[in-house]
Every structure is written in structure tokens, then in C-alpha cells.
Assembly symmetry: C3
Amino acid sequence: MKFSELVQQLDPTATTSLAIGTGHDPDIAGVSAIDDPHPHTLSYIESSKFASHIATTPVSALILPVDAELQNKASDRGLAWIASPLPRKLFAQAIAVFYQPFRLEAELHSTAVIHPSVRLGEGVAVGANVVIQANVTIGNGVCLHPNVVIYPEAQIGDRTILHANCTIHERTQIGADCMIHSGAVIGAEGFGFVPTPEGWFKMQQSGYVVLEDGVEVGCNSTIDRPALGKTLIRRNTKIDNLVHVAHGCQVGENCIMAGQVGIAGASKIGNRVILAGQVGIVDHIEIGDGAIASAKAGIHHNVKAGEIVTGIPAIPHKAFIKATAVFSRLPEMYQTLRRLQKQLDKGES
Amino acid sequence: MKFSELVQQLDPTATTSLAIGTGHDPDIAGVSAIDDPHPHTLSYIESSKFASHIATTPVSALILPVDAELQNKASDRGLAWIASPLPRKLFAQAIAVFYQPFRLEAELHSTAVIHPSVRLGEGVAVGANVVIQANVTIGNGVCLHPNVVIYPEAQIGDRTILHANCTIHERTQIGADCMIHSGAVIGAEGFGFVPTPEGWFKMQQSGYVVLEDGVEVGCNSTIDRPALGKTLIRRNTKIDNLVHVAHGCQVGENCIMAGQVGIAGASKIGNRVILAGQVGIVDHIEIGDGAIASAKAGIHHNVKAGEIVTGIPAIPHKAFIKATAVFSRLPEMYQTLRRLQKQLDKGES
Amino acid sequence: MKFSELVQQLDPTATTSLAIGTGHDPDIAGVSAIDDPHPHTLSYIESSKFASHIATTPVSALILPVDAELQNKASDRGLAWIASPLPRKLFAQAIAVFYQPFRLEAELHSTAVIHPSVRLGEGVAVGANVVIQANVTIGNGVCLHPNVVIYPEAQIGDRTILHANCTIHERTQIGADCMIHSGAVIGAEGFGFVPTPEGWFKMQQSGYVVLEDGVEVGCNSTIDRPALGKTLIRRNTKIDNLVHVAHGCQVGENCIMAGQVGIAGASKIGNRVILAGQVGIVDHIEIGDGAIASAKAGIHHNVKAGEIVTGIPAIPHKAFIKATAVFSRLPEMYQTLRRLQKQLDKGES
């Protein structure tokens, strides 16, 4: 398509937020990354840090930040361009113009096993070997990929997508526009055992899991239900692969949890919290809004809103960085200390 | 039901271990948590730490510890109560009075694929799309949820429950009263490769996995079989989600492994060992009975019975706590040390 | 079989690299580990460290290293033996003589759902309830275990084995002689979200995953596809259970990743790199050929070829070991430092 048509699709209404270069109007066949660029494509530059690419890139058009210098450089090379205060978001929109992920047809596969009590919305796609048990409610436009299993009394909201081989346990409530990736398990029994002199005594997990609208759960991640009440993930929170959220946790809106994060029982995470890869949080912790935990942080104490923490146990990020810089000098410090001690002891004697 | 009936169900025989309050006999409609209490329910208080709830809770009855002061407070408010040396266990029993998890009907679903050589016990439930391969033995009262796959020659003991989408590999022996949660994989090939000048050479894993009676394995956890002999999890050990137990490990009775624990090949874990979340244990380690590893501990050396270890590498917990308290002062210590050194060098010159 | 026949099978051509003991020719019924030895079996000894076993082992034959002393000891006891510069590799070959893992018959199970556009090679085994979607290509001798799901346009190379309940997403290219273990998910959407004032905006993941020949991926591991281009695992790299490789990573040949390793987006790993259990690597990192990361290392900076790194953040292994040895003395150092400071301040005043 012509660059001008693409621009029209990317931002048909809010044109005021965009500046569009006055160059020619090339054909755009797709998108490519600025460090792996292809001719006849659109690419993007996040900031002036990547300005050097403009002089040599073989692409035909660029998404630029709002930066007159970069825009002039692009125009000088005869590249078509569009500028935005959020160039990466615009590039994501451009990818979606050229690519949409695979979806099943809106039909019920003949091998699916659907209990007669299931309430199915309109335009639902149910793949091969899907199993939907009693009293489940499936919203409009839901897509269940092959081999998904849904236990009784679960609810799946409109347009939500469940990928292959994932399992939704009894009473789970999944909102609209969610995506559950392959192999994820939502709503299984929390890990609840009471220590007794005879060993571990099982506490039944009578609660359920709630995922609000727009939540994503990554491949093979697990979110458990509690003994009583609910485990809650609020709207638009995004969870990566192999993450474990234990029974009774409450996670706020618009959080990000990277791969292999683990949160123990009954912890409360605020809104817009970012947990980097392999972070661990012990039980009954509270994390304030907008807090950030660095990769591998081990959180044993509450974290205030906006705080950035690092390390095991996690401490304020800046303190960790400073202490870590000295860590490898510990042996040298130890030797110096012993030498000083001897000097001083000798001096005193 | 009446409180008195509930008490009867909770402890029909061993009444001597219980004290029952002399208040009225309210109707109990269910259970609720003390920090999320509901009228007409039974709740519980673990210890005097939570005593303040008694004055205000809207519940109708309480499980209390053996503590006359708490009991008097409850009686004074007209609350029915029952006291036990293990109040949390009694509360778990109360939950089970009002709630039992979903179970399949004891029938073979028409879509299940069961090899003719399979020996099925009585009262077995086999869900939709379950696949059971040659020479598998299934005990009485076993429940196989949808899409479970069992490889040849596995044995599943009486009353054991396998949740959806889990996979049991060849020759695995699972005892009675076990629970394998959704997506878990038991008995797959251990990660065995021999380094050679031409690259990694595969060592076939001819062994098998044994889970004794009462073992639980969490969602998406994996327990591998070894090249020779067996990987063994002894009775009543409970394993949480996303845990990895490598080939040839031996784990004792009544252990607890929290989420995302990893144990490398051929390590030996004693009885009643507790491994908190994200603990890692390298290969060929021995952990003594009753040892505890704190969250995220990295165990590179044997741990004695009863020891509590923390940190990476793991050291005795108290030493870790003390050292950690100083850690963030390292930069200050470094500066002080340099200053002292200068002072002393100047003094000596 | 006779020991001589076994030797013939183990190394029919390259006999020059082997020395064979001149003892008698016992019947060998199987293999056993040297620390769990059985009569009438072949076992192996890695090095002189295990020499003491020779005097007492009940096995009938041994694989030995090239070490005249060990060989003489074995001969003296009347044990048959064979010596090799790679005794462990030879033992792996011996296991494979007596044991081959379960394989499905080369037939298409009647319950498999195979799209008419799928191209199937010769001698393919497709298990029960397998789902293969449009335009997938399956090579010769491929084995798909029950409940595997393959999304459209994936390619599976000759002789590759996919175990039960694993999921291969759209456009994934898997080479020849690969093994994907149960529950693994290959080619799912990378975790790509753009921060905007309104929250996280999804970036579609239009790329794909490539596994070259001889790659293994462990149970419940996940390898994601990127927004653009590909995630690449080069030939003969072996990945253990519960590992996460994020979108856009490139991993070299003959690498080893132990259980629960996590690699964030767009990192580049060289050839023959070893990542021990629970290692984490942040995004956009480069790891040189032959580097080694110790268990639980957290890699925040590039690692040079051949370097061994340990700790969080990872530093050279030797420096980490030295610093760690002092770590538990930190409280004592702190006290000493304060005392010296007081002494010195007093001396100066």
C-alpha cells in the first residue's frame, strides 16, 4: 500500500498528534526492525540515539519521534516519514496493519466436548478436543484453541482468547479481551496445608480466581485459587511465561510481571507495578503503586509506592548498586582491616 | 446447620481435645476468613495475636486456640466457639464440611482412548480425551480429568487424582491418595548428556519415577526419571507449582517445596524438609531431616538436619541476616577504611 | 548377551580407541550404576577417584578410563573390562543397547485431527487427539505423542519427536532430530507491550521461532516468537525443563541450559555456552562462546568468551568466591572498623 494510505490507517482521526514528512509517497510492503531493515518497508526510530541509521537505512519510510533534526535528515534522504510522541506505539500499530495472529474460525469443532448446560455467546470459536464442563459461560467472540479444558462454572468474557492446552479451573472468572497463553493453568487449588504432628493436613481451596478485562497470562503460568475468597488480577495487567501467582494474591491494574516471577500467598500488589524477571515475593507483602522490582529481586518486606528495589533481600536500588560495587573488594577490605588492626595494636603496645 | 451439628462432624470421636463454648447454638451457613468475615459463618483465630477481632467480628462462631482469655471474650460476646490445640487444622476440617472440590462422575468418557491392555480398578473416572496407553494399571476410585496422557506401563494408585492436561510418562509409579495438578509432567527423560569433542551425547534415561502415597505435585511442575534406578518422592510430600525435581533425586517424607523450587540431579532430601519459594539445590547435595531453606536460597553444600539456611550461596540463616544488615553499609565501610588507612599511613610516616 | 558381543555393538569400527581386557567373556544382562551395582551387569568408572569400587563391585564387567592401574585391578579380580578415553560416553552407548525409550507405532491415530492441507512425510506416528492445523509440514519418521497441538504453517523436521501435551505455534520451524518434551510451548507470542499514558499497548508478534537440528527443549519450557524476525536456537543446543527463552533471542550451537533458566528479550548467546540452573539473563545481553554461568547467576552485563561468572549481579567466578568467603564476616568487620576508628580518633585527639 502507499505510505499515505498506511498513515491514514494508523491514525485516521488524531492527526494533530502526528507530523507527516513532505517527501514522495512510496509503496510500503511491510515493516522491519531498524537493526534488521528491509527495502520497501516501514521502520521506526525511538530517539536521537539511533539517528545514525537514517543516513544508511534501506527502508522506504520511518516512524520518527517529534524531533526536527531527525525529520530533516529523513527528508534530506528522500525517506517518507511520520512523527509521533509515541513512535514505538505507532510502530506497533503499523505491525498490526500488516499482521494479525492466527485465529480459529467461529465454529464449534466436531470433536469438542461441550456440556449441554454451557451457555455459549455468539461468534464463538471452539477448537478440536476442547472440553467445556457444566455450567460454564462463554461470552461473544471467544476463541478457545485446541485441547483447552474448562472446569465447571467458569466464566469467560467477550472476545477472550484461550490458547492450546491451557486449563481453566472451577469457578474462575475471566473478563473480556483477556488472553491466556498455551499451557497456563488458572484457578487450580492453592498450596494450602496445615502442619500437624501427623504431617501436612490439606486445607480445601473453596475460593476462585478473578481476572478482570484485558489481562494476559503467559505460557505455562499458574494462578491459584485460595481457601476462601478470591485471587484477583485487575484490568490490563500483563503476565509473562512461567509466572506463579499463589492463592489469595491481589494484583492491581496495568502491572507487568516478566518471566518466572513468583508471588507467594495473600500478597497485595498495587497498580502499575513492574516486576522484572525471576522476582520473588514472599507471602503477605504489600507493594505500593508504581513500584519496580529489578530482575531476581527477593522481596521480604513491604515496598512503598514508586520505590525501586533490587537484591536479595531487596533494598532500595541505589543502595544496592553502591553496595554491590564494593562487594568484590571485600577480600581486599578484609586484608586491609587486619593490617590496620595489627599496626594499631603494635602502635598501642 | 446448627453449630452443634457442625462440631459433631468436625470431631465426632476425639472430643476430649476440644473445649466447646456454652453459648447458644447458632445456624452456621459456611466459613469465612477472620479478615474478611461474614455473618452466619464460622471463622477461626490462630492465636492471641488476633484477639482484637473477637470484639467486633460479625461471624456467629469461632474456632479458638486453647486459651481461656480468648474463650471468655467470645462467650462474653455471645459467640459460639470451639477450642483446639490445632485451630487451623480444625478450620480446614470445617471448610471441607461446606466445600468439596469438583470431581468427575465415575465413568469412562466416550472420547477417552484406553488401550485394551489397561487394567482399570473399580469406580474409576476417566474424563474426555484422556489417553491411557499399553499396560497401565489404574487403581480403584482414581479420577483422571480431561486430556490427561499416560504413557505405557505406568501405575496409578487408589483414589489418586490427575488434573487436566498433565502427562505421566512410561513406568512411573504413583501411589494411593496422590494429587497431580494440571499440566504437571511426571517421569519424563532426565536431562542427561555426556560432553564429547563432537558435542553433547544423549544418555538414555532408562529409570523411572516413584511417588509414594499422599504426594501432591503442583501445576506445571516436572519430575524427571534418571538414566538408571529411580527418582523417588516419599509419602505425603507436597510440591507446589512450577517446581523442577531432576533425575535421580530422592526426597523424603512430609517435605514441602514451595513454588518454583529447583533440585538438580541426584540430590537427597531428608524427611520434613521445607524448601521455600525459588530455592535452588545443585546436584549431588544432601539435606538433613527437618532442614529449612529460605526463599531464593542457593544450596551448593550439604545441609545438616534441622539447619536453617539462607542466601546464595546458602549459609546459616542467622549469619546471613547479620551479614545482610551490614551489606548496605559497605560503601560507608569502604570509605572509612580508606580514611583510616590514610590517617595511619600519615601517622607512621 | 556375551560381553564380547556387547563390545562389538558399542564400537564396531573404531576399535583402536578401545582397550579390551583379556579376562573371560561373561553374560551381561544389563547396565547398572557403580553406586547401585547389580550382578551380571556392566557398570562404569569415570576416573581413578572411584577406583575403590573395583575391589568389591558385584558387576561382571566395567567400562574404565585409559588407566593401566585401574585396568590391572579389574583384570586381577577377573572382571571383564573395556577402556575408553570417554568412559561415560561409552556407558551411555551401553545403556542404549539395553534400553530404548517408548515410541508410538508409525500410524495416524483415528482420533487425530489433521487438516487436509498438512504435508505428512513417510513413517510418521501421530498419537491420539493430536491436532495439526493448516499448511503444517511434517518430515519423515516424526513422532507426535498424544494431545500435541500444532498451529498453522509450522514445520517439523525428520525424525523429530514431540511429547504429549506440547504446543507448537504458527510458523515455528523445528529441524531434524529434535526432541520437544511434554508441555513445552514453542513459538507463542513474545511478551511485547508498549508503555503509553493509557496503559500497555500490545505489539503483535509477527515473527517466528527456529530450532535447528538436534535441539532438545525440556518439559514445560517456553520459547517465544518476536515482533519481527526470529528467535533462533542453533543446532544441538539442549534446554532443560521450565526454561524461558524470550522473543528475539539468538542461542548458539551446543549450548546447555539447565532447569528454570530465563533469558529476556533479544539476548545473544554464543556457542557451547553453559547456563546452570535458575540463571537469569536480562535483555539485549551478549554472552561469548564457551562462557559458563553458575547456578542462579543474574547476568546484567555482557560476558566474554570463555568467562565463568557467578552471583547477582554476576561477576567473575573467582572474585565471587573470594568475596563470598568474607561475606559472613561482614558484621565482625563492621565492629572492628568502628573500634579502630574510635582508637584512632582517640589517639588523634
